[in-house]
Symmetry: C2
Amino acid sequence: MHGYELRKELTAKLGAIRAAISYGSLYPTLRRLQAAGWITEAAETPATAEEVPALTSRRGRVVYTITAEGKERFAQLIAQAGPETYDDTGFGVHFAFFARTDQATRLRILEGRRRKIEERREGLRDVLGRAAERLDAYTLELQRHGLDACEREVRWLEELIANERSGRAPTVPQPGTAGGRGENDSPPTPGESRKERP
Amino acid sequence: MHGYELRKELTAKLGAIRAAISYGSLYPTLRRLQAAGWITEAAETPATAEEVPALTSRRGRVVYTITAEGKERFAQLIAQAGPETYDDTGFGVHFAFFARTDQATRLRILEGRRRKIEERREGLRDVLGRAAERLDAYTLELQRHGLDACEREVRWLEELIANERSGRAPTVPQPGTAGGRGENDSPPTPGESRKERP
DNA sequence: CGTGCGATGTATCGGTCCGATACATCGCGG
DNA sequence: CCGCGATGTATCGGACCGATACATCGCACG
């Protein structure tokens, strides 16, 4: 893909956890990845030579393609777990690429995330219990809302963990939007990749 | 207060919305505030002169005090609303200081935030509706979880808005932790400030 | 009785990311 | 035919984080 397209795809995929990636972050990152040998850059070729003659002055789009080393590095990255994997953004990114990993990794990350959220929850309970009279009503309401979000996420994580343990892919627990959608992607075997526009 | 204390206070007050402020951010900011004339710095005086004789080698704590211009600037800042006031962090900070503002400002900010979250919600619904078959089950689950959080926050904001409109301070909607706490801070008149340790 | 560790405290540095901005082309509708 | 919104690449200044360095204090445990 080229940069603009990449940004759109990532925005759609990660829209639930963060705002759009800025160009000031995207382009330097692409150059870093290229320097490391994980992607290659190439100016877009005008189709099969003369197919679109009028567009010779076409602005140079740069098309990025992942390399074999890049795929390997990517597999390493999404399989690795650690403190930064469990914070909001790190977890969200890992989760968005869960379909590219194995079940053991998914369970490890889900449980690490749960522990992290439980810690945050305890911190908030502490504040609400011990420092309650020192804080004003609005601040307390904020903490209560945050605490509620923590409890909710723990429950969500536990459902996901149970689903993983039972070998099922994530089902639809909430009475959400669409009713159907019975089938979901089975996790592809690690080496495989989907067809992409080059 | 001095820096370390300030960080602890802010961590307790803002714990629900963000991690602790880093020193790499805190100290430069304090210097900026000082340069702008909004706070003053002063080396801690050893109590009433000779009271603690053995501690002459005491490491220099720096005590920061807000100035009159600083208080004025602070009042301006928390009363101002705009796009950056409605994103996650900006809204959280404003909300944590709601007790220092007037009701009109609170309503303006709550409604701006609601509009922002409603936009995010629509974006997520779009993705879940239109791009559903292009995304894998985990990504969809992530969006669904984000959508749920949006809907929840909108409901929370609407309760708060209704409470403001009816003139009441925020009550305790959820069957939360402590039962009591009937009284809460009435918003202080704008010029007033609480007693603080100098 | 000493000693080491965790809490208290101030401070800097490298690196990453964001927001704003600049610039150029393409397709479409008024 | 022309202007505007979408597409597209790119840079710059500034803010912030994470790690780190360094120093002191109180207390618990050997």
